[in-house]
């Protein structure tokens, strides 16, 4: 992102957001060369039927995420994200897009308290991460389900044990664990594979197991970091459907992705990052050309 771009940023109210006043950068600097990743792909014009019915109106405007002028500078001087203003109401489904190195991973690390913001205020699920105590971080993380591109399942444990592990290490009792795990394996459609190890599963099944694990604490927010990055298109759709279903049940979903097809097709809110700044925040479309 050039200086011209950042100074030319026009701050307009977000399109999706409710009562909470906030600022969202929508940036369209004229005359900048378009990045190759932004150009419309062969599937950019997906015209298929909407995959999900529109969401019902939300109740009170609770916020899953509120970021106010958040900047993260790493000790080596790298400005990973700068001046991020982002408000995500509860129940939203948000795509986070941007080229590699744009700051998506840093943003996610900030949200799950894996990194601390250098400046700015950051609230997640009602916790102010600037003042959160170390002992409170686990409680915050139980309200966030995290899904990764590489699944991060424990290879020695079965699917059931992998999901149960997340409950076990947070002090849940055995009976409670069993009920929850059974319910979630049903939700992601892995009841039949419960006793298999990750090595025996397909990529899609592994990701579904990871999603089940992310859901064990009934999180208010699910953060998925490139969840379809290692999957073929058909399986990717299955995973997206699953995340949409979870969103439909009331959980906020923030999904970082490179998958233009999915982003364009779903007409959900899209937040674009470039060189650490939010360069767009609007509904639908993977690339910058929008109607």
């Amino acid at each position: 992102m050039s200086d011209a771009a950042s100074t030319g940023a026009a701050r307009t109210p977000g399109m999706l957001l409710g009562a909470e006043p906030h600022r969202t950068a929508v940036l369209e600097p004229p005359g900048l060369p378009r990045d190759p990743w932004m150009s419309p792909g062969p599937t950019a014009g997906y015209q298929g039927p909407p995959l999900m019915p529109p969401m019902p109106p939300l109740g009170p405007p609770l916020l899953a995420i509120r970021m106010d002028e958040v900047t993260k500078v790493y000790p080596n001087g790298k400005h990973a994200v700068e001046d991020i203003d982002l408000v995500v109401p509860e129940g939203d489904f948000v795509f986070l897009v941007g080229p590699s190195g744009a700051g998506k991973s840093t943003l996610i690390k900030l949200l799950v308290c894996d990194e601390e913001a250098t400046t700015g205020t950051l609230e997640v699920a009602g916790h102010d991460l600037g003042t959160i105590k170390r002992g409170e971080i686990p409680k915050l993380r139980r309200q966030i389900g995290i899904v990764f591109q590489d699944f991060r399942l424990l290879p020695r444990k079965t699917v059931r044990e992998n999901v149960a592990f997340a409950l076990e290490v947070t002090g849940a009792n055995r009976k409670q664990t069993r009920t929850t795990v059974d319910r979630l394996l049903g939700l992601v459609g892995l009841t039949g594979q419960a006793d298999q190890r990750p090595g025996q599963l397909s990529g899609g099944e592994m990701q579904r197991a990871a999603i089940a694990r992310a859901m064990v604490h009934d999180p208010r927010l699910v953060i998925a970091d490139e969840p379809t990055g290692n999957l073929d298109p058909l399986i990717s759709w299955e995973i997206i459907q699953l995340l949409l279903r979870i969103n439909e049940m009331g959980t906020t979903v923030l999904m970082a992705t490179h998958n233009a097809e999915v982003v364009t097709a779903l007409r959900k809110r899209v937040v674009g990052l470039e060189a650490g700044r939010i360069v767009r925040d609007e509904v639908g479309g993977y690339h910058r050309d929008y109607a």
């Binding site: 170390r134 686990p138 409680k139 139980r142 424990l154 947070t170």
Partner: protein, 298 residues
């Protein structure tokens, strides 16, 4: 709480088994260190018993001149008694001294020859000291009376000083060696637990991401360290139990009439020290290791 305990123990046992070569190495060095510790305690306690025994026997023996008036002897006795470093002064007549000598020879199984000799013993004062190594005042009083009243002073302090210095040296060297071995054990435990932590880094990362509290991350490893310590202590105590009989026999032969061996208090002392040292080193080593890791990984 109970859940944390069962979880930690289960994970720790799994970790010990998964890393069994390193666990074995840690346990074996732990056993060696604990054996060294207990032998040092046993030997030192033996020397201490010997020292106490010898010290209890030590006195300043004052040989009185022939034909000294009783009142001069009484006044010397009173004067010595009034010194703070003296615990008691006992008058031993020459007949009593000969009788004591005869009795000791008989006790040692040697022929009683006293019938053939004239009693060689003078009348004596036996001065018992509070601290066998402090006798300056006694000596100065006796020096003042030398000649008319005091014929000779027999001191046994030199022997004690030797024994005391041997004991002190042994204790210093022993503690130094023990400290070095203890440090080695600590480092091995730290390393062993670090390997356990590394081999489970994926699990730890997932635990942290799903919101496990630090206790659930930390305690399995600390329990693993404690188990290495406990195992080491158990093996050490078993070896000592097997060896205690022969050791006592040897000690009796060497020490003679000095009362050494596995008294109840020594057994208790050694057992508790081995347990505390084992569990302490295991727990502290693990704690250091996990703490260093978690601080880097927050």
């Amino acid at each position: 709480m109970l859940h944390l305990v069962t979880f930690s123990v289960r994970q720790a046992l799994e970790g010990l088994w998964r890393n069994r070569v390193m666990s074995l190495a840690a346990t074996v060095t732990m056993v060696m260190m604990l054996l060294l510790l207990s032998s040092l305690v046993i030997v030192l306690s033996g020397m201490q018993a010997g020292l106490a025994f010898v010290e209890s026997k030590v006195e300043v023996r004052v040989e009185l001149a022939e034909g000294v008036a009783q009142d001069r002897v009484d006044s010397l006795t009173a004067q010595l008694r009034s010194l703070p470093e003296v615990s008691d002064v006992i008058y031993v007549s020459k007949e009593q001294a000969l009788a004591d000598f005869t009795q000791q020879r008989i006790a040692d199984g040697q022929p009683d020859l006293t019938d053939y000799i004239r009693n060689p013993f003078p009348n004596q004062l036996s001065v018992k000291l509070r601290d066998p190594r402090v006798s300056d005042q006694v000596m100065s009083v006796l020096d003042a009376e030398r000649g008319p009243v005091v014929a000779n002073v027999v001191e046994k302090q030199k022997d004690i000083d030797k024994l005391v210095s041997v004991t002190a040296t042994l204790r210093t060297v022993g503690v130094a060696v023990l400290a070095l071995v203890g440090l080695t054990v600590l480092l091995i435990v730290v390393n062993s637990i670090r390997m356990a932590v590394m081999s489970r880094s994926q699990e730890i990362e997932i635990m942290r991401l799903v919101g496990a509290s630090d206790h659930f991350v930390r305690w399995p490893f600390i329990v693993e360290g404690l188990l290495v310590g406990l195992l080491g202590a158990a093996v050490t105590l078993t070896l000592l139990l097997l060896a205690s009989g022969p050791i006592s026999e040897v000690a009796k032969v060497i020490a003679g009439q000095v009362p050494v061996g596995f008294s109840q208090s020594l057994t208790f002392q050694v057992t508790s020290m081995v347990l505390i040292a084992g569990l302490g080193l295991g727990g502290v080593g693990a704690w250091i290791s996990v703490r260093a890791y978690l601080r880097n990984a927050t």
